[in-house]
Symmetry: C2
Subunit: 324 residues, 2 copies
Protein backbone atom coordinates (compact mmCIF):
# COMPACT_ATOMS: atom_id res chain seq x y z
CA UNK A 1 0.00 0.00 0.00
CA UNK A 2 1.52 3.28 -1.05
CA UNK A 3 -0.47 5.06 1.60
CA UNK A 4 1.61 8.21 1.60
CA UNK A 5 1.27 8.68 -2.13
CA UNK A 6 -2.45 8.21 -1.79
CA UNK A 7 -2.80 10.87 0.82
CA UNK A 8 -0.50 13.21 -1.03
CA UNK A 9 -2.20 12.81 -4.37
CA UNK A 10 -5.82 12.97 -3.44
CA UNK A 11 -6.32 14.56 -0.05
CA UNK A 12 -3.56 17.05 0.67
CA UNK A 13 -4.67 19.65 -1.88
CA UNK A 14 -7.97 20.98 -3.18
CA UNK A 15 -9.86 21.39 0.05
CA UNK A 16 -10.90 24.41 2.07
CA UNK A 17 -8.05 26.09 3.99
CA UNK A 18 -8.65 27.65 7.42
CA UNK A 19 -6.48 30.22 9.19
CA UNK A 20 -6.85 28.39 12.51
CA UNK A 21 -5.00 25.35 11.09
CA UNK A 22 -1.34 26.02 11.90
CA UNK A 23 -0.16 22.68 10.53
CA UNK A 24 -2.35 20.44 8.36
CA UNK A 25 -1.76 17.17 6.50
CA UNK A 26 1.83 15.97 6.15
CA UNK A 27 3.37 15.83 9.62
CA UNK A 28 2.89 13.42 12.53
CA UNK A 29 -0.21 15.34 13.63
CA UNK A 30 -2.14 18.52 12.89
CA UNK A 31 -1.83 21.67 15.00
CA UNK A 32 -4.87 23.91 15.32
CA UNK A 33 -6.01 26.85 17.43
CA UNK A 34 -9.41 27.20 19.07
CA UNK A 35 -10.74 30.78 19.29
CA UNK A 36 -10.87 32.30 22.79
CA UNK A 37 -14.19 31.76 24.54
CA UNK A 38 -15.02 28.63 22.53
CA UNK A 39 -15.06 24.93 23.37
CA UNK A 40 -14.05 22.06 21.11
CA UNK A 41 -16.83 19.66 20.11
CA UNK A 42 -15.60 16.26 18.87
CA UNK A 43 -17.43 13.31 17.34
CA UNK A 44 -16.40 10.10 15.56
CA UNK A 45 -18.48 7.89 13.30
CA UNK A 46 -17.60 4.93 11.15
CA UNK A 47 -19.54 3.73 8.12
CA UNK A 48 -18.94 0.22 6.79
CA UNK A 49 -19.91 -1.20 3.39
CA UNK A 50 -22.78 -3.65 3.75
CA UNK A 51 -23.76 -2.25 7.15
CA UNK A 52 -24.23 1.50 6.70
CA UNK A 53 -24.27 1.68 2.91
CA UNK A 54 -25.06 -0.81 0.17
CA UNK A 55 -22.29 -2.51 -1.81
CA UNK A 56 -21.60 -0.66 -5.08
CA UNK A 57 -22.66 2.69 -3.63
CA UNK A 58 -21.07 5.55 -5.59
CA UNK A 59 -17.93 7.04 -3.97
CA UNK A 60 -19.58 10.48 -3.97
CA UNK A 61 -22.37 9.16 -1.76
CA UNK A 62 -19.99 7.31 0.57
CA UNK A 63 -17.86 10.45 1.00
CA UNK A 64 -20.97 12.57 1.55
CA UNK A 65 -22.44 10.21 4.14
CA UNK A 66 -19.16 9.78 6.02
CA UNK A 67 -18.92 13.55 6.43
CA UNK A 68 -22.65 14.23 6.88
CA UNK A 69 -23.19 11.79 9.75
CA UNK A 70 -20.42 13.52 11.68
CA UNK A 71 -21.46 17.09 10.86
CA UNK A 72 -24.96 16.08 11.90
CA UNK A 73 -23.63 15.12 15.34
CA UNK A 74 -21.90 18.50 15.61
CA UNK A 75 -25.13 20.22 14.51
CA UNK A 76 -27.06 18.39 17.23
CA UNK A 77 -24.73 20.01 19.80
CA UNK A 78 -25.12 23.45 18.22
CA UNK A 79 -21.50 23.41 17.01
CA UNK A 80 -19.90 24.94 13.93
CA UNK A 81 -17.67 22.45 12.00
CA UNK A 82 -13.96 23.28 11.80
CA UNK A 83 -11.61 20.31 11.29
CA UNK A 84 -11.99 16.80 9.89
CA UNK A 85 -9.72 13.74 10.19
CA UNK A 86 -10.39 10.88 7.81
CA UNK A 87 -9.40 7.24 8.06
CA UNK A 88 -10.04 5.31 4.89
CA UNK A 89 -9.90 1.53 4.70
CA UNK A 90 -9.85 0.34 1.08
CA UNK A 91 -9.69 -3.20 -0.31
CA UNK A 92 -7.54 -1.98 -3.19
CA UNK A 93 -6.39 1.21 -4.88
CA UNK A 94 -8.85 2.38 -7.51
CA UNK A 95 -7.77 5.76 -8.84
CA UNK A 96 -11.07 6.83 -10.34
CA UNK A 97 -12.86 5.88 -7.13
CA UNK A 98 -10.33 7.82 -5.04
CA UNK A 99 -10.60 10.83 -7.32
CA UNK A 100 -14.39 10.94 -7.04
CA UNK A 101 -14.30 10.29 -3.30
CA UNK A 102 -11.67 12.93 -2.53
CA UNK A 103 -13.27 15.54 -4.80
CA UNK A 104 -16.54 15.10 -2.91
CA UNK A 105 -14.72 15.56 0.42
CA UNK A 106 -13.06 18.72 -0.90
CA UNK A 107 -16.35 20.05 -2.25
CA UNK A 108 -18.02 19.52 1.14
CA UNK A 109 -15.06 21.19 2.89
CA UNK A 110 -15.69 24.36 0.88
CA UNK A 111 -19.44 24.21 1.44
CA UNK A 112 -19.20 23.70 5.21
CA UNK A 113 -15.92 25.62 5.74
CA UNK A 114 -14.04 22.76 7.36
CA UNK A 115 -10.44 21.77 6.68
CA UNK A 116 -9.25 18.18 6.27
CA UNK A 117 -6.36 18.14 8.76
CA UNK A 118 -5.16 14.55 8.61
CA UNK A 119 -5.95 10.93 8.32
CA UNK A 120 -4.80 7.48 7.58
CA UNK A 121 -5.18 5.10 4.66
CA UNK A 122 -5.09 1.38 5.26
CA UNK A 123 -5.76 -1.75 3.25
CA UNK A 124 -8.89 -3.54 4.42
CA UNK A 125 -12.61 -3.89 3.77
CA UNK A 126 -14.26 -0.66 2.62
CA UNK A 127 -15.00 1.51 5.63
CA UNK A 128 -14.56 5.15 6.54
CA UNK A 129 -14.04 6.67 9.97
CA UNK A 130 -14.36 10.41 10.29
CA UNK A 131 -13.57 12.47 13.35
CA UNK A 132 -15.08 15.94 13.20
CA UNK A 133 -14.10 18.80 15.48
CA UNK A 134 -16.07 21.99 15.77
CA UNK A 135 -16.57 24.98 18.05
CA UNK A 136 -19.29 26.22 20.30
CA UNK A 137 -19.19 29.32 22.50
CA UNK A 138 -18.58 28.43 26.16
CA UNK A 139 -21.72 27.08 27.88
CA UNK A 140 -23.74 27.04 24.65
CA UNK A 141 -23.76 23.29 23.95
CA UNK A 142 -27.15 21.68 23.44
CA UNK A 143 -27.23 18.26 25.09
CA UNK A 144 -29.74 15.41 25.15
CA UNK A 145 -30.41 15.94 28.83
CA UNK A 146 -32.05 19.36 29.14
CA UNK A 147 -35.67 18.68 28.07
CA UNK A 148 -38.29 19.77 30.64
CA UNK A 149 -41.99 18.85 30.95
CA UNK A 150 -44.03 21.33 28.93
CA UNK A 151 -41.29 21.93 26.32
CA UNK A 152 -42.48 21.59 22.73
CA UNK A 153 -41.02 18.85 20.53
CA UNK A 154 -39.85 19.94 17.07
CA UNK A 155 -38.20 18.33 14.05
CA UNK A 156 -36.51 19.94 11.06
CA UNK A 157 -37.25 18.91 7.47
CA UNK A 158 -39.28 15.83 6.58
CA UNK A 159 -39.02 12.33 8.02
CA UNK A 160 -38.84 8.89 6.44
CA UNK A 161 -37.40 9.90 3.07
CA UNK A 162 -34.05 8.18 3.54
CA UNK A 163 -35.73 4.99 4.72
CA UNK A 164 -38.07 4.89 1.73
CA UNK A 165 -35.08 5.69 -0.51
CA UNK A 166 -33.15 2.73 0.89
CA UNK A 167 -36.12 0.39 0.38
CA UNK A 168 -36.38 1.66 -3.19
CA UNK A 169 -32.68 0.93 -3.78
CA UNK A 170 -33.19 -2.57 -2.42
CA UNK A 171 -36.29 -3.09 -4.63
CA UNK A 172 -38.48 -3.67 -1.59
CA UNK A 173 -40.95 -1.08 -2.88
CA UNK A 174 -41.58 0.77 -6.14
CA UNK A 175 -42.27 4.46 -6.78
CA UNK A 176 -43.69 5.18 -10.22
CA UNK A 177 -43.01 8.93 -10.31
CA UNK A 178 -39.34 9.20 -11.42
CA UNK A 179 -38.80 12.62 -9.83
CA UNK A 180 -40.09 11.36 -6.51
CA UNK A 181 -37.98 8.20 -6.79
CA UNK A 182 -34.91 10.27 -7.50
CA UNK A 183 -35.64 12.64 -4.58
CA UNK A 184 -36.04 9.73 -2.16
CA UNK A 185 -32.85 7.95 -3.24
CA UNK A 186 -30.93 11.18 -2.97
CA UNK A 187 -32.19 11.70 0.56
CA UNK A 188 -30.56 8.35 1.39
CA UNK A 189 -27.38 8.96 -0.60
CA UNK A 190 -26.83 12.61 0.28
CA UNK A 191 -28.38 13.51 3.66
CA UNK A 192 -28.15 17.18 4.67
CA UNK A 193 -26.53 17.81 8.03
CA UNK A 194 -28.53 20.59 9.71
CA UNK A 195 -25.52 22.72 10.64
CA UNK A 196 -27.24 26.11 10.37
CA UNK A 197 -30.29 24.90 12.29
CA UNK A 198 -27.97 23.59 15.01
CA UNK A 199 -26.17 26.88 15.57
CA UNK A 200 -29.51 28.72 15.47
CA UNK A 201 -30.79 26.54 18.32
CA UNK A 202 -28.05 27.65 20.74
CA UNK A 203 -29.52 29.16 23.92
CA UNK A 204 -33.03 28.41 22.60
CA UNK A 205 -33.42 24.62 22.49
CA UNK A 206 -33.31 22.82 25.84
CA UNK A 207 -32.24 19.55 24.19
CA UNK A 208 -31.33 18.29 20.74
CA UNK A 209 -30.38 15.05 18.96
CA UNK A 210 -29.97 14.15 15.32
CA UNK A 211 -32.27 11.48 13.94
CA UNK A 212 -30.00 8.69 12.75
CA UNK A 213 -31.75 5.60 14.12
CA UNK A 214 -35.34 6.79 13.63
CA UNK A 215 -37.50 9.39 15.38
CA UNK A 216 -38.84 7.20 18.17
CA UNK A 217 -35.52 5.46 18.83
CA UNK A 218 -33.68 8.78 19.08
CA UNK A 219 -36.45 10.38 21.14
CA UNK A 220 -35.88 7.54 23.62
CA UNK A 221 -32.32 8.80 24.14
CA UNK A 222 -33.58 12.30 24.87
CA UNK A 223 -36.28 11.30 27.35
CA UNK A 224 -33.92 8.84 29.04
CA UNK A 225 -31.11 11.38 29.47
CA UNK A 226 -33.54 14.17 30.41
CA UNK A 227 -35.59 11.93 32.74
CA UNK A 228 -38.89 13.00 31.18
CA UNK A 229 -41.56 11.56 28.89
CA UNK A 230 -43.10 12.72 25.62
CA UNK A 231 -46.31 12.85 23.62
CA UNK A 232 -45.85 12.50 19.86
CA UNK A 233 -48.70 13.33 17.48
CA UNK A 234 -47.99 10.98 14.59
CA UNK A 235 -50.48 12.78 12.32
CA UNK A 236 -48.31 15.91 12.68
CA UNK A 237 -45.08 14.27 11.45
CA UNK A 238 -43.67 16.13 8.44
CA UNK A 239 -43.87 13.77 5.47
CA UNK A 240 -42.72 14.71 1.98
CA UNK A 241 -44.98 14.75 -1.06
CA UNK A 242 -42.69 12.08 -2.51
CA UNK A 243 -43.87 9.74 0.23
CA UNK A 244 -47.53 10.76 0.53
CA UNK A 245 -48.05 10.54 -3.25
CA UNK A 246 -46.44 7.11 -3.57
CA UNK A 247 -46.99 5.20 -0.34
CA UNK A 248 -50.71 4.51 -0.51
CA UNK A 249 -51.20 3.23 3.02
CA UNK A 250 -51.07 6.21 5.39
CA UNK A 251 -49.94 4.05 8.30
CA UNK A 252 -47.01 2.80 6.23
CA UNK A 253 -46.00 6.39 5.50
CA UNK A 254 -46.20 7.29 9.19
CA UNK A 255 -44.24 4.17 10.09
CA UNK A 256 -41.39 5.26 7.83
CA UNK A 257 -41.48 8.76 9.29
CA UNK A 258 -41.50 7.54 12.89
CA UNK A 259 -39.11 4.61 12.71
CA UNK A 260 -36.83 4.70 9.66
CA UNK A 261 -33.27 5.89 10.16
CA UNK A 262 -30.72 7.99 8.33
CA UNK A 263 -32.74 11.18 7.82
CA UNK A 264 -30.27 13.26 9.87
CA UNK A 265 -32.92 15.82 10.71
CA UNK A 266 -32.75 17.44 14.16
CA UNK A 267 -35.19 16.58 16.93
CA UNK A 268 -35.22 19.27 19.63
CA UNK A 269 -37.19 20.71 22.52
CA UNK A 270 -38.08 24.36 23.06
CA UNK A 271 -39.84 26.02 26.04
CA UNK A 272 -43.16 27.79 25.34
CA UNK A 273 -41.59 31.26 25.72
CA UNK A 274 -39.16 30.52 22.87
CA UNK A 275 -41.66 28.79 20.56
CA UNK A 276 -42.48 31.68 18.27
CA UNK A 277 -38.86 32.83 18.29
CA UNK A 278 -37.51 29.51 17.00
CA UNK A 279 -40.21 29.13 14.35
CA UNK A 280 -39.40 32.61 13.03
CA UNK A 281 -35.62 32.18 13.24
CA UNK A 282 -35.59 28.90 11.31
CA UNK A 283 -38.13 30.17 8.77
CA UNK A 284 -35.88 33.15 8.05
CA UNK A 285 -33.19 30.64 6.97
CA UNK A 286 -35.76 28.61 4.98
CA UNK A 287 -35.32 25.65 7.31
CA UNK A 288 -38.63 23.78 7.57
CA UNK A 289 -39.56 22.99 11.15
CA UNK A 290 -42.60 21.18 12.56
CA UNK A 291 -43.98 20.93 16.07
CA UNK A 292 -44.81 17.24 16.61
CA UNK A 293 -45.49 16.91 20.31
CA UNK A 294 -44.59 17.87 23.82
CA UNK A 295 -42.41 16.76 26.71
CA UNK A 296 -44.26 15.32 29.73
CA UNK A 297 -43.41 14.38 33.28
CA UNK A 298 -44.19 10.69 32.61
CA UNK A 299 -40.55 9.65 32.88
CA UNK A 300 -39.46 7.10 30.30
CA UNK A 301 -42.83 6.97 28.53
CA UNK A 302 -43.46 7.87 24.90
CA UNK A 303 -47.17 8.42 24.35
CA UNK A 304 -47.90 8.00 20.63
CA UNK A 305 -51.15 9.56 19.33
CA UNK A 306 -52.82 9.34 15.96
CA UNK A 307 -55.62 11.87 15.53
CA UNK A 308 -55.62 12.30 19.33
CA UNK A 309 -56.04 8.54 19.95
CA UNK A 310 -53.37 6.26 21.46
CA UNK A 311 -51.44 4.33 18.81
CA UNK A 312 -48.92 1.48 18.82
CA UNK A 313 -46.61 0.31 16.05
CA UNK A 314 -45.89 -3.36 15.51
CA UNK A 315 -42.99 -3.79 17.88
CA UNK A 316 -40.53 -5.06 15.25
CA UNK A 317 -40.68 -1.67 13.57
CA UNK A 318 -39.68 0.26 16.66
CA UNK A 319 -35.98 0.88 16.49
CA UNK A 320 -34.03 0.92 13.32
CA UNK A 321 -31.62 -1.97 12.84
CA UNK A 322 -28.84 -1.61 10.32
CA UNK A 323 -29.86 -3.46 7.20
CA UNK A 324 -27.23 -6.17 7.22
Amino acid sequence: MKEFDLIGNYFAKGGYVRKDVLLGIGDDAAVTKVPAGQCVVTTTDTIVEGVHFLPQTAPESIAHRAIAVNLSDLAAMGAQPAWISLSLSLPSINESWLKAFSEKIHSLSHYFSFQLIGGDTVQGPLSITVTAQGFIPDDNQITRSGAEPGDWLFVTGSLGDAGVGLDLLQNKITVSNPEHASYLKNRHWFPTPRVLAGTTLRRIATSCIDISDGLIQDLKHVISRSEVGAIVHLDKLPISEAITKNIENGIDAITYAATAGDDYELLFTVPEEQRVHIETALASYNIPVTRIGQITGATGKIDLRLNQKPFEFESRKLGFEHFS
Copy 2:
Protein backbone atom coordinates in the same frame (compact mmCIF):
# COMPACT_ATOMS: atom_id res chain seq x y z
CA MET B 1 -25.65 -4.92 17.01
CA LYS B 2 -26.51 -3.41 20.36
CA GLU B 3 -23.84 -0.81 19.86
CA PHE B 4 -25.12 1.53 22.55
CA ASP B 5 -25.13 -1.16 25.19
CA LEU B 6 -21.59 -2.04 24.20
CA ILE B 7 -20.34 1.47 24.65
CA GLY B 8 -22.26 1.92 27.87
CA ASN B 9 -21.05 -1.31 29.43
CA TYR B 10 -17.40 -1.29 28.61
CA PHE B 11 -16.20 2.17 27.73
CA ALA B 12 -18.27 4.79 29.54
CA LYS B 13 -16.89 4.05 33.02
CA GLY B 14 -13.55 3.06 34.50
CA GLY B 15 -11.27 5.43 32.62
CA TYR B 16 -9.38 8.54 33.66
CA VAL B 17 -11.56 11.64 34.09
CA ARG B 18 -10.27 15.09 33.15
CA LYS B 19 -11.62 18.44 34.32
CA ASP B 20 -11.31 19.91 30.82
CA VAL B 21 -13.92 17.44 29.51
CA LEU B 22 -17.24 19.26 29.95
CA LEU B 23 -19.27 16.50 28.29
CA GLY B 24 -17.88 13.04 27.62
CA ILE B 25 -19.36 9.81 26.28
CA GLY B 26 -23.15 9.62 25.93
CA ASP B 27 -24.31 12.60 23.88
CA ASP B 28 -24.04 13.39 20.15
CA ALA B 29 -20.49 14.67 20.64
CA ALA B 30 -18.00 15.51 23.37
CA VAL B 31 -17.39 19.06 24.58
CA THR B 32 -13.91 19.95 25.82
CA LYS B 33 -11.93 23.06 26.71
CA VAL B 34 -8.38 23.81 25.61
CA PRO B 35 -6.28 25.77 28.14
CA ALA B 36 -5.43 29.37 27.19
CA GLY B 37 -2.15 29.69 25.33
CA GLN B 38 -2.25 26.12 24.01
CA CYS B 39 -2.93 24.63 20.59
CA VAL B 40 -4.79 21.40 19.83
CA VAL B 41 -2.72 18.62 18.27
CA THR B 42 -4.80 15.94 16.48
CA THR B 43 -3.85 12.62 14.91
CA THR B 44 -5.74 9.59 13.59
CA ASP B 45 -4.45 6.08 13.00
CA THR B 46 -6.19 2.87 12.10
CA ILE B 47 -4.91 -0.62 12.79
CA VAL B 48 -6.41 -3.57 10.93
CA GLU B 49 -6.15 -7.26 11.76
CA GLY B 50 -3.87 -9.04 9.30
CA VAL B 51 -2.24 -5.78 8.22
CA HIS B 52 -1.02 -4.06 11.39
CA PHE B 53 -1.35 -6.93 13.84
CA LEU B 54 -1.43 -10.71 13.49
CA PRO B 55 -4.70 -12.63 13.66
CA GLN B 56 -5.33 -13.98 17.19
CA THR B 57 -3.41 -11.13 18.82
CA ALA B 58 -4.54 -10.65 22.43
CA PRO B 59 -7.08 -7.84 22.97
CA GLU B 60 -4.72 -6.21 25.48
CA SER B 61 -2.05 -5.84 22.78
CA ILE B 62 -4.52 -4.58 20.17
CA ALA B 63 -5.84 -1.95 22.60
CA HIS B 64 -2.30 -0.97 23.58
CA ARG B 65 -1.10 -0.63 20.00
CA ALA B 66 -4.18 1.32 18.88
CA ILE B 67 -3.54 3.88 21.61
CA ALA B 68 0.27 3.80 21.45
CA VAL B 69 0.58 4.52 17.73
CA ASN B 70 -1.52 7.66 18.21
CA LEU B 71 0.18 8.85 21.40
CA SER B 72 3.47 8.31 19.59
CA ASP B 73 2.34 10.75 16.88
CA LEU B 74 1.44 13.29 19.56
CA ALA B 75 4.83 12.72 21.22
CA ALA B 76 6.59 13.37 17.91
CA MET B 77 4.98 16.84 17.87
CA GLY B 78 5.94 17.49 21.50
CA ALA B 79 2.29 17.33 22.58
CA GLN B 80 0.73 16.16 25.84
CA PRO B 81 -2.19 13.69 25.32
CA ALA B 82 -5.63 14.84 26.48
CA TRP B 83 -8.60 13.22 24.72
CA ILE B 84 -9.17 10.00 22.78
CA SER B 85 -12.00 8.97 20.44
CA LEU B 86 -12.25 5.29 19.59
CA SER B 87 -13.97 3.60 16.69
CA LEU B 88 -14.13 -0.15 17.04
CA SER B 89 -15.11 -2.46 14.20
CA LEU B 90 -15.80 -5.97 15.48
CA PRO B 91 -16.89 -9.08 13.57
CA SER B 92 -19.04 -10.17 16.54
CA ILE B 93 -19.63 -9.38 20.19
CA ASN B 94 -17.28 -11.30 22.46
CA GLU B 95 -17.73 -10.15 26.03
CA SER B 96 -14.46 -11.44 27.44
CA TRP B 97 -12.57 -9.87 24.52
CA LEU B 98 -14.37 -6.54 25.06
CA LYS B 99 -13.70 -6.64 28.78
CA ALA B 100 -9.97 -7.20 28.28
CA PHE B 101 -9.79 -4.62 25.49
CA SER B 102 -11.66 -1.91 27.38
CA GLU B 103 -9.79 -2.52 30.64
CA LYS B 104 -6.52 -2.01 28.78
CA ILE B 105 -7.82 1.26 27.32
CA HIS B 106 -8.88 2.42 30.79
CA SER B 107 -5.54 1.41 32.28
CA LEU B 108 -3.68 3.39 29.61
CA SER B 109 -5.98 6.39 30.17
CA HIS B 110 -4.89 6.51 33.82
CA TYR B 111 -1.21 6.05 32.96
CA PHE B 112 -1.16 8.75 30.27
CA SER B 113 -3.86 11.00 31.80
CA PHE B 114 -6.15 11.03 28.77
CA GLN B 115 -9.92 10.71 28.81
CA LEU B 116 -11.90 8.57 26.37
CA ILE B 117 -14.45 11.13 25.14
CA GLY B 118 -16.41 9.19 22.55
CA GLY B 119 -16.47 6.69 19.81
CA ASP B 120 -18.42 4.36 17.67
CA THR B 121 -18.89 0.61 17.56
CA VAL B 122 -19.74 -1.06 14.28
CA GLN B 123 -20.01 -4.58 12.97
CA GLY B 124 -17.25 -5.40 10.52
CA PRO B 125 -13.79 -6.93 10.22
CA LEU B 126 -11.59 -6.32 13.28
CA SER B 127 -10.07 -2.86 13.07
CA ILE B 128 -9.61 0.06 15.42
CA THR B 129 -9.40 3.74 14.57
CA VAL B 130 -8.23 6.09 17.29
CA THR B 131 -8.21 9.86 17.10
CA ALA B 132 -5.99 11.42 19.75
CA GLN B 133 -6.07 15.08 20.71
CA GLY B 134 -3.42 16.74 22.83
CA PHE B 135 -2.04 20.15 23.72
CA ILE B 136 1.11 22.04 23.01
CA PRO B 137 1.95 25.59 24.13
CA ASP B 138 1.55 28.08 21.25
CA ASP B 139 4.49 27.95 18.80
CA ASN B 140 6.08 24.96 20.53
CA GLN B 141 5.20 22.22 18.02
CA ILE B 142 8.08 20.13 16.69
CA THR B 143 7.60 19.42 13.00
CA ARG B 144 9.40 17.26 10.47
CA SER B 145 10.57 20.32 8.57
CA GLY B 146 12.94 22.20 10.87
CA ALA B 147 16.18 20.16 10.59
CA GLU B 148 19.23 22.24 9.59
CA PRO B 149 22.64 21.13 8.28
CA GLY B 150 24.95 20.53 11.23
CA ASP B 151 22.14 19.43 13.59
CA TRP B 152 22.81 16.15 15.38
CA LEU B 153 20.56 13.16 14.75
CA PHE B 154 19.30 11.33 17.83
CA VAL B 155 17.02 8.39 18.60
CA THR B 156 15.40 7.34 21.87
CA GLY B 157 15.50 3.76 23.15
CA SER B 158 16.70 0.85 21.06
CA LEU B 159 15.84 -0.01 17.47
CA GLY B 160 14.73 -3.19 15.74
CA ASP B 161 13.21 -4.95 18.76
CA ALA B 162 9.62 -4.82 17.50
CA GLY B 163 10.69 -6.11 14.07
CA VAL B 164 12.59 -9.04 15.58
CA GLY B 165 9.63 -9.66 17.89
CA LEU B 166 7.26 -9.86 14.92
CA ASP B 167 9.57 -12.27 13.07
CA LEU B 168 9.70 -14.39 16.22
CA LEU B 169 5.90 -14.47 16.41
CA GLN B 170 5.77 -15.53 12.77
CA ASN B 171 8.41 -18.25 13.37
CA LYS B 172 10.76 -16.69 10.84
CA ILE B 173 13.57 -16.75 13.37
CA THR B 174 14.23 -18.35 16.75
CA VAL B 175 15.64 -16.88 19.96
CA SER B 176 16.80 -19.47 22.47
CA ASN B 177 16.95 -17.22 25.55
CA PRO B 178 13.33 -17.13 26.84
CA GLU B 179 13.73 -13.77 28.61
CA HIS B 180 15.07 -12.19 25.46
CA ALA B 181 12.31 -13.76 23.37
CA SER B 182 9.69 -12.45 25.77
CA TYR B 183 11.24 -8.95 25.77
CA LEU B 184 11.26 -8.82 21.96
CA LYS B 185 7.65 -10.01 21.58
CA ASN B 186 6.53 -7.50 24.16
CA ARG B 187 8.28 -4.71 22.26
CA HIS B 188 6.04 -5.65 19.32
CA TRP B 189 2.88 -6.15 21.36
CA PHE B 190 3.26 -3.21 23.75
CA PRO B 191 5.32 -0.40 22.23
CA THR B 192 6.01 2.57 24.52
CA PRO B 193 4.95 5.93 23.13
CA ARG B 194 7.67 8.42 24.07
CA VAL B 195 5.34 11.05 25.50
CA LEU B 196 7.71 12.44 28.14
CA ALA B 197 10.61 12.56 25.68
CA GLY B 198 8.39 14.45 23.25
CA THR B 199 7.41 17.18 25.68
CA THR B 200 11.05 17.45 26.83
CA LEU B 201 12.11 18.13 23.24
CA ARG B 202 9.97 21.29 22.93
CA ARG B 203 12.07 24.34 22.00
CA ILE B 204 15.16 22.09 21.84
CA ALA B 205 14.70 19.72 18.90
CA THR B 206 14.55 21.33 15.44
CA SER B 207 12.60 18.37 14.01
CA CYS B 208 11.08 15.12 15.23
CA ILE B 209 9.27 12.06 13.88
CA ASP B 210 8.26 8.76 15.45
CA ILE B 211 9.76 5.63 13.93
CA SER B 212 6.82 3.59 12.73
CA ASP B 213 7.99 2.48 9.28
CA GLY B 214 11.68 2.00 10.10
CA LEU B 215 14.54 4.40 10.85
CA ILE B 216 15.65 5.02 7.27
CA GLN B 217 12.14 5.27 5.88
CA ASP B 218 11.10 7.79 8.53
CA LEU B 219 14.36 9.73 8.22
CA LYS B 220 13.44 10.16 4.54
CA HIS B 221 10.32 12.07 5.61
CA VAL B 222 12.40 14.41 7.77
CA ILE B 223 15.07 15.17 5.17
CA SER B 224 12.42 15.59 2.48
CA ARG B 225 10.32 18.03 4.51
CA SER B 226 13.38 19.85 5.86
CA GLU B 227 15.13 19.93 2.45
CA VAL B 228 18.39 18.61 3.88
CA GLY B 229 20.42 15.39 3.83
CA ALA B 230 21.80 13.15 6.60
CA ILE B 231 24.72 10.94 7.56
CA VAL B 232 23.80 7.88 9.64
CA HIS B 233 26.49 5.87 11.43
CA LEU B 234 24.97 2.39 11.42
CA ASP B 235 27.53 1.12 13.95
CA LYS B 236 26.14 3.68 16.42
CA LEU B 237 22.51 2.48 16.25
CA PRO B 238 21.23 1.51 19.70
CA ILE B 239 20.57 -2.23 19.62
CA SER B 240 19.30 -4.16 22.62
CA GLU B 241 21.15 -7.02 24.26
CA ALA B 242 18.18 -9.21 23.29
CA ILE B 243 19.13 -8.68 19.66
CA THR B 244 22.92 -8.66 19.88
CA LYS B 245 22.98 -11.85 21.96
CA ASN B 246 20.62 -13.74 19.64
CA ILE B 247 21.09 -12.44 16.10
CA GLU B 248 24.52 -13.79 15.26
CA ASN B 249 25.10 -11.85 12.06
CA GLY B 250 25.89 -8.25 12.97
CA ILE B 251 24.64 -6.98 9.61
CA ASP B 252 21.28 -8.67 10.22
CA ALA B 253 21.01 -6.94 13.60
CA ILE B 254 21.83 -3.58 12.02
CA THR B 255 19.32 -4.24 9.24
CA TYR B 256 16.56 -4.77 11.78
CA ALA B 257 17.58 -1.60 13.62
CA ALA B 258 17.72 0.50 10.47
CA THR B 259 14.74 -0.81 8.53
CA ALA B 260 12.21 -2.65 10.72
CA GLY B 261 9.10 -0.78 11.73
CA ASP B 262 6.88 -0.45 14.79
CA ASP B 263 9.50 0.56 17.38
CA TYR B 264 7.77 3.91 18.03
CA GLU B 265 10.98 5.49 19.25
CA LEU B 266 11.55 9.16 18.43
CA LEU B 267 14.02 10.30 15.78
CA PHE B 268 14.94 13.97 16.25
CA THR B 269 17.49 16.63 15.40
CA VAL B 270 19.21 18.99 17.83
CA PRO B 271 21.58 21.89 17.12
CA GLU B 272 25.12 21.66 18.57
CA GLU B 273 24.42 24.32 21.22
CA GLN B 274 21.58 22.19 22.66
CA ARG B 275 23.35 18.83 22.42
CA VAL B 276 24.54 18.52 26.03
CA HIS B 277 21.29 19.99 27.29
CA ILE B 278 19.12 17.35 25.65
CA GLU B 279 21.36 14.46 26.68
CA THR B 280 21.21 15.63 30.29
CA ALA B 281 17.47 16.36 30.24
CA LEU B 282 16.50 12.95 28.85
CA ALA B 283 18.99 11.14 31.12
CA SER B 284 17.37 12.79 34.14
CA TYR B 285 14.11 11.07 33.13
CA ASN B 286 15.92 7.77 32.47
CA ILE B 287 15.10 7.99 28.77
CA PRO B 288 17.91 6.38 26.77
CA VAL B 289 19.03 8.53 23.86
CA THR B 290 21.74 7.90 21.25
CA ARG B 291 23.41 10.22 18.77
CA ILE B 292 23.47 8.32 15.47
CA GLY B 293 24.45 10.88 12.85
CA GLN B 294 24.18 14.40 11.58
CA ILE B 295 22.13 16.49 9.18
CA THR B 296 23.94 17.62 6.01
CA GLY B 297 23.31 20.06 3.19
CA ALA B 298 23.16 17.23 0.61
CA THR B 299 19.44 17.64 0.03
CA GLY B 300 17.54 14.36 -0.28
CA LYS B 301 20.58 12.17 0.34
CA ILE B 302 21.00 9.69 3.20
CA ASP B 303 24.67 8.77 3.55
CA LEU B 304 24.90 5.44 5.41
CA ARG B 305 28.23 4.61 7.05
CA LEU B 306 29.44 1.47 8.77
CA ASN B 307 32.67 2.00 10.71
CA GLN B 308 33.16 5.22 8.72
CA LYS B 309 32.83 3.43 5.35
CA PRO B 310 29.90 3.89 2.94
CA PHE B 311 27.32 1.12 3.25
CA GLU B 312 24.25 0.03 1.30
CA PHE B 313 21.44 -2.31 2.30
CA GLU B 314 19.89 -4.68 -0.17
CA SER B 315 17.25 -2.44 -1.66
CA ARG B 316 14.28 -4.67 -0.80
CA LYS B 317 14.97 -4.08 2.88
CA LEU B 318 14.76 -0.31 2.63
CA GLY B 319 11.28 0.71 3.58
CA PHE B 320 9.05 -1.33 5.76
CA GLU B 321 6.03 -2.84 4.05
CA HIS B 322 3.13 -4.00 6.18
CA PHE B 323 3.36 -7.74 6.55
CA SER B 324 0.24 -8.70 4.67
